[in-house]
């Protein structure tokens, strides 16, 4: 997994080449095309070398379709809700984009509500759009309003680590106290527990394990938790 700077040539070549985040294909004047990196990070590729991408950390979310994000409702505009997902533009959520919602029966959101939503449209020239149901099944599948709890901000790489089922942190916290958590790829984590001290402990552990905050490992987190009153 070599480290690359932006602007370096990447030896990606395959019949069905798919370029992931951080890579761009450029065509030169004489008709040849080459793949260059557009950000700094670890260059990775799949086993059969058809998928290539760059693994890097950042703090600013760029929306992409079919990603699960946590949004904060900031305004209402007619039938739609304006939701802040941390990107450059405010996202739009249709009032009826919930499971089983009709004109007479729609969810009662307020300004300041937290939502777990899926980005349905993300194009550089349009503002992003959200939906609160799964794309295939059209059922809620966990999307919708998040009631109560507490929102923690983290880096994008940390939120990707938390979404990985093999990462140690959430199971470790869950073994100490009952915990409900929702992670958005936009660098936001929602935590809900009965005791406020558990929420504080969980948010401090997330900040400590975050690569931006030092990248604490499992042993360190266990010692850290033992200093707290949980």
């Amino acid at each position: 997994m070599p480290l690359v700077l932006p602007g370096e040539q990447v030896p990606a070549a395959h019949v069905n080449l798919k370029l992931g985040p951080g890579l761009l294909q450029l065509s030169s004047v004489d008709g040849k095309s080459s793949v260059i990196s557009t950000r700094a990070g670890d260059l990775n590729h799949s086993a059969n070398r058809s998928k290539w991408w760059i693994d890097s950390n950042s703090r600013r979310y760029i929306p992409a379709p079919q990603e699960s994000v946590i949004g904060i409702v900031i305004a209402r505009s007619g039938e739609n809700w304006r939701v802040d997902i941390g990107s450059a533009h405010v996202a739009s959520l249709d009032g009826l984009a919930f499971e089983g919602a009709t004109k007479r029966n729609r969810p009662n959101l307020k300004v300041g509500s937290l939502l777990y939503a899926r980005v349905s449209l993300a194009h550089k020239d349009m503002e992003p759009e959200l939906e609160c149901f799964d794309a295939q099944t059209r059922k809620a599948e966990g999307f919708g309003e998040l009631k109560g709890g507490f929102l923690v901000n983290c880096s994008l790489k940390m939120s990707r680590l938390l979404m990985d089922p093999t990462h140690f942190l959430l199971p470790l916290l869950g073994s100490r106290f009952p915990l409900e958590a929702a992670t958005g790829v936009n660098g936001r984590v929602w935590i809900n527990t009965k005791d406020p001290r558990h929420i504080i402990a969980a948010s401090r552990c997330i900040e400590a394990v975050d690569p931006d905050g030092g990248g604490m490992d499992e042993v360190g987190v266990k010692k850290f938790l033992s200093t707290m009153d949980v």
Partner: protein
């Protein structure tokens, strides 16, 4: 080219120790401090983020660059430098990937000129080496942010010209002590990108580079041979800066400040912890020695 050593013992083509620290400033998306020895600058980058309607552009991101000197308020020379920085960055970033957004860059000089170089206000000017450190700090901060797609990395170095009877005496990275003895000089900024065509002189490990901008001036008459020599010397120095940046990226996460760790230590020892600078490998400038 003269082979005499300089006042600090360097050869004509030797840079001072390069220091790159990714500060991890709060509230911004990327930040970096770059220094040639004592000449340091700090830059922060935020974006792509929300833009005011009067600055919005329909097909590309807007660059908003502010540059601040160490002493005093930003005057005409700082404003001119931010305009130059905008012209340097525009070809190096893919601004069309994020239309109707803002990329906000703030550059801060971390040292004044104790010598009074004669450029701008005495003791407060932007000499060529400080300009080079600012451009490199901006480049490193954009690399740290990883949110704005970059065509390549910009590396800048300064070249100074000593007076001599015969041929021009050019030196790389003139220090503050050498500035009063120069009769000319300037900063050269290069873009290192594989999107540029390969030239016969480019080495294999580095992407090809091309000159983006220079402010080389001289108080004595010079010809284009001298300018080409200065550019060639600067290109060698820029390659070393690129290599230093590449090495620093592998330490990017480790050089960040760790607020959680410091709080953990204070919880354990139950006393106020002094915020210690994390940098283990690169040389650090002592706070006492920094000019305020």
């Amino acid at each position: 080219m003269s082979t005499t050593t300089r006042s600090d013992g360097r050869t004509y083509d030797q840079l001072r120790d390069i220091m790159i620290v990714y500060e991890g400033l709060d509230g911004v998306d990327g930040s970096a401090r770059f220094g040639f020895g004592q000449t340091q600058s700090l830059t922060s980058v935020s974006g792509p983020m929300e833009v005011r309607p009067n600055l919005e552009q329909p097909s590309q991101a807007t660059l908003d660059i502010s540059v601040r000197p160490l002493v005093g308020i930003a005057g005409t020379d700082s404003k001119a430098l931010s305009t130059n920085l905008k012209a340097i960055l525009a070809p190096a970033l893919f601004l069309s990937h994020h239309p109707r957004t803002l990329i906000q860059i703030v550059g801060q000089a971390l040292c004044g000129t104790e010598s009074g170089s004669g450029l701008g206000s005495v003791g407060k000017g932007w000499n060529a080496t400080l300009v080079a450190s600012l451009i490199n700090a901006t480049s490193a901060a954009l690399v740290n942010a990883s949110s704005v797609p970059m065509k390549g990395v910009i590396c800048a170095v300064s070249v100074g010209r000593f007076p001599s009877a015969s041929a021009a005496t050019l030196v790389l990275d003139p220090s503050e002590a050498e500035l009063p003895h120069l009769v000319g000089g300037g900063c050269f900024a290069f873009l290192f990108s594989s999107a540029l065509p390969l030239t016969p002189s480019s080495p294999d490990e580095l992407p090809p580079c091309s000159l983006l901008w220079t402010n080389y001036t001289s108080s004595v008459v010079y010809d284009d041979t001298e300018l080409r020599q200065a550019q060639a010397l600067a290109e060698e120095g820029a390659r070393k800066v690129w290599a230093a940046m590449k090495e620093s990226v592998s330490n990017m996460e480790r050089t960040a400040q760790c607020p959680a760790f410091n709080r953990f230590k204070s919880a354990k020892t139950e006393s106020r912890v002094k915020k210690d600078t994390k940098n283990l490998s690169e040389s650090e400038v002592d706070d006492d020695k920094m000019e305020i």
